[in-house]
């Protein structure tokens, strides 16, 4: 039985309060009919005695107190799903954008999903070759991982995400990724860049797009990643596909969350973001993964722009605590025209250790990246020292490291948008760069690997 109520008590920001309701449930979906008969949707944030607090996804402009009708639909927000969704475009709430995008649903699923039982998870350990050296060689991505791009405004994070989507393959297998793309509050141009790039490479027919653009209602964004991930779960675990989920831009999502929190007069945490931001973000990120006995997987690349490039801002900070590593883009490398400008030292992939090595990439991989990291870090220190004292003040060893850091940025990090390096090429390049050091300096590499690869990769 669907209950309909006429009139509201108050409207504050994106929230409306309905009185004298009965049997309303927490998180229930609400349909709101305005005086002009247009319709909006919302969800119940709180029920208190006979009052229900409802968050309106499309915003509250044009809603009045006495003429508005609310209908409580007795269920949560669901999305209609089918394998036919590939190649189609939806709104941030999962509504078809055009007639062409409509489907005959095979299933309806609640967008909030349920937590994956940690016992049911399969550990992500299948190496994904992205063709980007800084990822494959140093911060290896594996299937089922969530690896965000921490970026800043004006940096080429979209291009890098598109490059990953374009080049990602699993070695020795000919499976293709399906891409689920969730846009939250990005501009039309940014969205169009992805669509064009997917179209050019033919990926579009294997993609599902959920677009909430900058001029779409801000509160709708709260649903967008959930809608996208419900679709991804459906494709991965019911249709056996390997799904790459790209979510951009999480910063806009968090701001929408803050807006709702402020309207509810909740006690704010850091920088006005709600205290439950960590929990909320984890409900999104933790939906990536692999499940025992299922062929499909969800690999997630969320993108967020760090306000003022500040990594300690609550959004990147909390994200970093949940995701399995992070790829950080550097403004200074970008200025030096290094592309993709991956800031190697603070970037990290937590799952790389299980995804590399013999049988996956090559037996020397772990030692090699440890050595490259250590050498680059020391090279960076030498560079800083040289800024103050001049290069001539460095010891001979430090001079080597100094040179290494320069070569490393120029040859290893920088590769351009369309160069697709195999893992062999990436590893050999690493050895080539290390060959300027005498053998004793390579402390992080086992003897047998030095014997096999040192000064041999030409």
């Amino acid at each position: 039985m669907i209950k309909e109520y006429k009139g509201l008590v108050n409207i504050v920001g994106p929230l409306i309060l309905v009185e004298n309701v009965k049997d309303v449930k927490y998180e229930e979906l609400v349909e709101i009919e305005l005086s002009d008969k247009s319709r909006r949707s919302g969800k119940v944030l709180e029920v208190n005695q006979d009052k229900a607090l409802v968050q309106v996804f499309e915003g509250t402009s044009g809603i009045d107190i006495d003429g508005t009708k609310t209908r409580f639909l007795g269920r949560g927000i669901q999305i209609a799903l089918s394998g036919e969704m590939l190649g189609k475009v939806y709104s941030g709430l999962g509504k078809p954008k055009t007639r062409n995008d409509e489907i005959i649903p095979e299933e309806f699923l609640d967008i909030n999903g349920s937590p994956i039982n940690p016992f049911a998870r399969n550990y992500p350990n299948e190496f994904i070759q992205t063709g980007i050296s800084t990822i494959d060689g140093l911060n290896t991505l594996v299937r089922g991982q969530k690896l965000p791009l921490f970026s800043g405004s004006g940096l080429p994070h979209n291009r890098m995400a598109a490059q990953i989507a374009r080049q990602a393959t699993v070695l020795g297998k000919n499976e293709q990724f399906a891409v689920v793309f969730g846009a939250m509050g990005i501009t039309f141009e940014e969205a169009q860049f992805f669509i064009d790039d997917f179209r050019k490479t033919g990926a579009l027919t294997r993609s599902v797009l959920f677009l909430n653009l900058a001029d779409d209602p801000a509160i709708e964004r709260i649903a967008t990643p959930r809608v996208a991930l419900t679709t991804a779960e459906y494709l991965a675990f019911k249709k056996d596909m390997h799904v790459l989920v790209i979510l951009t831009d999480l910063t806009n999502y968090c701001e929408a969350l803050r807006e709702v929190s402020a309207a509810r007069k909740e006690i704010p945490g850091r920088r006005g973001y709600p205290g439950y931001l960590y929990t909320d973000l984890s409900m999104i990120y933790e939906r990536a993964g692999r499940i025992k006995g299922k062929n499909g997987s969800i690999t997630m690349i969320p993108i967020l722009t760090m306000p003022e490039d500040d990594k300690t801002h609550p959004i990147p900070d909390l994200t970093g605590y949940i995701t399995e590593g992070q790829i950080i883009l550097s403004r200074s490398l970008h200025r030096k025209k290094v592309s993709p400008p991956v800031d190697v030292l603070p970037s990290l992939s937590r799952l790389k250790d299980k995804g590399i090595g013999k049988g996956k990439t090559r037996e020397d991989h772990a030692d090699l990246f440890n050595q490259l990291y250590a050498a680059y870090a020391r090279g960076k220190e030498a560079q800083e020292l040289a800024v103050i004292l001049g290069e001539s003040a460095l010891t001979d060893t430090d001079k080597l490291y100094f040179r290494f850091a320069e070569d490393f940025e120029r040859e290893y990090v920088s590769q351009g948008e369309y160069e697709n390096r195999t893992i062999e090429e990436t590893l050999n390049l690493g050895w080539k760069l290390l060959s300027i050091f005498p053998r004793e300096e390579l402390k992080r590499v086992r003897d047998e690997n030095i014997d096999k690869y040192y000064k041999k990769a030409e």
């Binding site: 009965k22 049997d23 309303v24 449930k25 927490y26 998180e27 944030l45 709180e46 029920v47 208190n48 005695q49 006979d50 949560g76 909030n112 349920s114 937590p115 994956i116 039982n117 940690p118 016992f119 049911a120 998870r121 550990y123 089922g144 675990f237 006690i267 945490g269 205290g275 439950y276 960590y278 929990t279 984890s282 933790e286 993964g289 499940i291 025992k292 990594k311 300690t312 900070d317 970093g320 605590y321 949940i322 399995e324 030292l345 603070p346 990290l348 937590r350 772990a366 440890n370 990291y373 250590a374 870090a377 020391r378 020292l385 004292l389 003040a393 460095l394 010891t395 402390k443 003897d447």
Partner: protein, 586 residues
């Protein structure tokens, strides 16, 4: 109880119910017909404020609340080891076999299997007098652990009946009679999680808890029954350190709590621990481990409960006389769960929105650690060491959770992002960290490790401290301006850092260093430093000392397999040889 409550408000994990007179604080209730488990956290006249351990989506006003009249408790008995539980001790493997890949709501599964039969072997005879905590018998629960069945706290009497045999945890294994009243003893009993289990007396820790991690064991050791915290920004390796300690710490039982952290990390433990072998017994590590996994996407209120569930289980094994180590990763998520619930209760916040009672809660949690004389008529000692990870926002140590924790713990392993960027792992800062257990463990160390352990530790720390001062100078005037002896300090410090402190958790040999090996390694480096200092005084150029061949040998000490540990000492001879040759060439 036939009186049920009625919901009047639902806001996220907080539900308020009316008509709840008769319920007590921290009683467990079941919310709605879906039977979602919750706990009363505030009472106001007839209203009860309930934190619900499961998602409250779809719950509405007017639905029923069933009181149980009992506080949140865990089941203790054979079957705990090798289990993986959620924050309220529901077994995740059983949930998986019941409902599949995703955790759905309102599932009720017994924490300990009721069907499995265990071989019970009595340790007391008929007509023996026993009192609380006394061992009645044991069950060989895993190949590593004998699970002792003790007289539950608060009971005593004469053994009227006891027999060997195969029993389930709910069958009686013994009957005690006290003042004409008979009590049946089962292998399982329940204990409220928020109430520390009793013991006779608390003792000061005096044995080190060796972990196989060089920076910990040689520089900042923790004691059995001690407390430690590991704060650090993301990516600094908190979880890897916690995993390393869970793997290699020489405790007999490990309780690992994944509190509000990543699901894949728990999977990692689940897959890896059965494969890894305990260096002492040669048995799989899983045989001594209990896992509590309440990942970040699982309900927030259950996250709050998970640390209590874990520590109660740990205390139970301590009471058997074991040395138990508990790892909580991460206590910040636990604190955040408190903050979230506190916010929903509209309590006046303290610092950073955390509730004003944050410090008290953290302190009382860590205080449940300790070396104790167990409750029993026989002399028995148990120890519970607690190691908590803290995840301060932005790695900022002024965070209230870090500060409240530092006030109570005795060991501080400070993780630094800068070290992690250089891939110096474990990224424990040698300048900021400390251990206050050096005095406690002194006697043990001097007797069992070495007479000069503390001298070695002191002189190495001095070299590192001097290095950090010299680095300032180098930054201003360059390394060439330094004297030979200063440059030697830089060289020795680099050796300590790179060849000793740096330890690769993913290298099959380096992942665990026995204390013997650690001691030998550090003493080789110290020997090099002393010898080189003498050589330098004989007018040998620092340049030639910096380039000695034996440096390479020192760098590879860490990869020495355990059979060849004695060979590390031979490096000292090579050092002598090479350095003496240098001074002869002058």
């Amino acid at each position: 109880m036939d009186k049920n409550g009625k919901i009047v408000k639902v806001a996220g994990p907080l539900v308020i119910a009316d008509n709840m007179l008769g319920s007590k604080m921290f009683d467990v209730v079941f919310v709605s017909e879906k039977k979602l488990m919750g706990e009363i956290i505030e009472l106001n006249q007839e209203k009860a404020y309930i934190q619900v351990y499961e998602e409250t989506e779809g719950i509405g006003v007017g639905e029923v609340v069933y009181p149980t009249g009992e506080p949140l408790s865990v089941e203790l008995g054979p079957g705990l080891l090798e289990s993986i539980y959620d924050g309220t001790q529901r077994p995740l493997d059983k949930i998986y076999s019941q409902v599949g890949d995703f955790i759905t709501r309102g599932i009720q599964v017994k924490s300990i299997s009721r069907d499995k039969k265990w071989r019970f072997i009595p340790l007391v005879k008929k007509n023996d007098s026993v009192s609380e905590g006394d061992k009645l018998g044991f069950v060989q629960e895993t190949t590593l652990i004998k699970h002792f069945i003790m007289v539950p706290p608060g009971m005593k009497g004469k053994v009227k009946e006891i027999k060997e045999g195969d029993f389930t945890v709910e069958e009686k294994v013994a009957v005690l009679s006290n003042e004409g009243k008979d009590t049946q003893i089962m292998m399982m009993h329940r204990w409220p999680v928020r109430k520390p289990r009793p013991y006779l007396e608390k003792l000061s820790p005096e044995m080190p808890l060796f972990t196989g991690q060089r920076v910990v064991d040689m520089f900042f050791p923790i004691a059995k029954g001690g407390t430690a915290c590991v704060p650090g920004p993301f990516g600094s390796g908190k979880t890897v350190i916690q995993h390393q300690l869970a793997k290699w710490a020489d405790a007999e039982v490990i309780v690992y709590i994944g509190c509000g952290e990543r699901g894949n990390e728990m999977t990692d433990v689940l897959l890896e621990f059965p494969e890894l072998v305990d260096p002492k017994s040669g048995e799989p590590l899983m045989k001594r481990t209990v896992l509590i996994a309440n990942t970040s996407n699982m309900p927030v209120a259950a996250r709050e409960a998970s640390v209590y569930t874990g520590i109660t289980i740990a205390e139970y094994f301590r009471d058997m006389g074991y040395s138990v180590a508990l790892m909580a990763d991460s206590t910040s998520r636990w604190a955040e769960a408190m903050r979230e619930i506190s916010g929903r209760l509209e309590e006046m916040p303290g610092e950073e929105g955390y509730p004003a009672y944050l410090g008290a809660k953290i302190a009382s949690f860590y205080e449940r650690a300790g070396r104790v004389k167990c409750l029993s008529t026989e002399e028995r000692e148990g120890a519970l060491s607690v190691i908590g990870a803290v995840s301060p926002p932005g790695g900022d140590l002024s965070d209230p959770v870090v500060q409240s924790t530092l006030r109570v713990v005795k060991v501080f392993w400070s993780l630094e992002a800068q070290l992690a960027y250089r891939r110096h792992f474990p990224a424990i800062s040698w300048l900021n960290s400390y251990s206050l257990y050096n005095e406690n463990i002194k006697d043990y160390i001097l007797k069992n490790v070495s007479e000069d352990y503390f001298d070695l530790q002191g002189s190495s720390m001095r070299i590192l401290e001097e290095e950090s001062e010299l680095e300032e100078v180098v930054r201003l005037v360059g390394v060439d301006a330094l004297s030979g002896s200063d440059r030697l300090i830089l060289l020795a410090a680099r050796m300590i850092r790179e060849d000793f402190l740096h330890q690769n958790a993913f290298h099959e040999i380096d992942t665990y260093s026995s204390v013997e090996k650690q001691y030998k390694m550090l003493s080789v480096i110290n020997h090099f430093y002393q010898k080189a200092k003498e050589t330098l005084q004989k007018q040998v150029e620092i340049f030639s000392i910096e380039n000695v061949k034996v440096k390479d040998k020192i760098a590879r000490m860490k990869y020495t397999p355990k059979e060849n540990v004695a060979s590390i000492d031979e490096i000292k001879n090579e050092i002598d040889g090479e350095l003496e040759a240098l001074s002869k060439n002058i």
